[in-house]
Amino acid sequence: MKNNLRVLLNGFVKENPVFVLLLGTCPTLATTTSVVSALAMGLAAAAVLVCSNAAISLLRKIIPDKVRIPAYIVIIAGFVTVVQMLMEAYLPSLYEMLGVYLALIVVNCIVLGRAEMFASKNTVGASILDGAGMGLGFTLALLCMAIVREVFGAGSFAGMEIPFISDYTVPILVSPPGGFFVFGVLIALVSALGKKPSKEEFGCEGCPNASLCKGECGKEKA
């Protein structure tokens, strides 16, 4: 039970997908201009993540190793289409707001990354918890960024104007350069506050340089 809780909480701060693993940067920068769209994006991605993690974990012994990436993408795309259709039917204004970024969850590296790093090696229960933790961590990160950007950039919170701050807005925060700026500052803040995951914990599977270094990086210190 303790272990399960750790799997769930990992995604919040210690291995936060956005601020620590630096995955899913594109939707992070694109949808955090307002609190509402950030929350919608985060929850949609979290729903896909939980479902795809569960399905991939169930099928992990059937999927041949050589074609695992296409197989994962088919599974993920299926769930994304379901979420997309549900949102179009029941939340049309949100669907309009997120636009192409909703469909782009298919290639969101967090979803694919968790499939590859976690769901393909763990039981269904743990994979669901991991998906939920990562998804909520993603939502949390998007919310943090969106709050900073909307409150100080547009002087409002979830569309409601804040009386004092709206006179002193810095509109650049809502535009892409301001997004990068807030992103950088928050990454710095998180890495200053939390302990970075060591290379052993992080694993070579999730490392983009793995093919080049072949596991040599960990040996340097020893």
Binding site: Y168, V170, P171, I172, S175, P177, G178, F181
Partner: protein, 308 residues
């Protein structure tokens, strides 16, 4: 043998210190600052005061927080604040001026390692940030010598709009025109620039190449009168003497300075003639700041006896 002491280099020390150089720059900027108060009224003194205060304060607090040596005494933050203030319109809200100063010191300079380690000019970068962030207030230029701050077009905007009335060339030279605080009064800037050249703080190469390039390109593009207006308008003189000569963000070798000046001139003219912004001085200096390491690499001299 005991009298023979060997110390590590450098063996010959110049009397120039960072604070001494910065003091000279401040002295050189004073005529322009005084001219801005005469032209735009007392509010410009207020803007200068806010910028300098916040620049120095943020430098002090930043160095305290990251626990490095507090180097406020070298006056560089003071220069940055002053330069930024001279690049702002007089009607700028004071909180925006303060935010710009903090941005210049903390983000552009402090985060990259402090004095001498920043790759871009803090005052220029902060001005561009403010131009993008607060486009409305940053381009609201007020007419000179008007007590009630009536707004006006700058000569560059007038040149672009065609048909709007331009100030006379004499007014242009004396700085009786719309524009940023310190950029309008050419004599004051020239006095400061020549003072710096005589003190050996800056070399004449960059400003001459920069202004010369803009003049020649404007001459080809629109004739003599147009070229004179182009040279006197906007922040060209201020930028050429005080911003394009910053030590840590511009090339060190003489030929590098020539490339830097000509490059700035070409980019400035291109933005002024064809771009959507009326003024291109700050963008040109920032862009050339970015390629400065490459210019330094191309113009590196071969040491005596070294292979080519």
């Amino acid at each position: 043998m005991e009298k023979l002491k060997i110390s590590s280099s450098p063996h010959i020390l110049s009397k120039k210190t960072v604070s001494g150089i910065m003091l000279d720059v401040i002295i050189a900027l004073l005529p322009a600052a005084i001219a801005s108060i005469l032209i735009f009224g007392y509010r410009s003194a207020l803007v200068i005061g806010v910028c300098v205060t916040f620049a120095v304060l943020s430098e002090f607090l930043f160095q305290k927080i990251i626990k490095t040596k507090v180097l406020v005494g070298d006056l560089s933050a003071c220069v940055t604040g002053l330069l930024l203030a001279l690049n702002l319109p007089v009607s700028i809200p004071l909180w925006q001026a303060a935010l710009g100063s903090v941005f210049a010191i903390v983000v552009v300079k402090g985060l990259f390692g402090g004095i001498g380690k920043n790759f871009a000019n803090p005052a220029i970068t902060a001005r561009i940030m403010m131009l993008i962030a607060f486009t409305g207030t940053m381009t609201a230029f007020t007419a000179p010598l008007s007590p009630d701050l009536t707004s006006t077009a700058t000569p560059l905007e007038a040149l672009k709009a065609m048909g709007t009335e331009l100030p006379s060339l004499k007014d242009m030279f004396l700085g009786i025109r719309g524009g940023s605080l310190g950029e309008t009064c050419a004599p004051a800037l020239l006095i400061g620039g020549i003072y710096l050249i005589f003190r050996g703080i800056i070399s004449w190469t960059t400003p001459v190449c920069y202004i010369g390039t803009v003049f020649v390109l404007s001459l080809i593009y629109g004739g003599m009168d147009f070229a004179l207006y182009q040279v006197l308008a906007g922040g060209l003189i201020l930028g050429a003497f005080f911003m394009a000569t910053d030590y840590s963000t511009t090339p060190t070798r003489p030929w590098g300075k020539v490339i830097f000046g000509v490059g700035c001139g070409i980019i400035t003219s291109a933005i002024r003639f064809y771009g959507s912004y009326p003024e291109g001085v700050s963008f040109s200096i920032l862009l050339m700041n970015i390629i400065t390491p490459y210019i330094d690499k191309w113009t590196r001299p071969t040491p005596i006896g070294g292979n080519k």
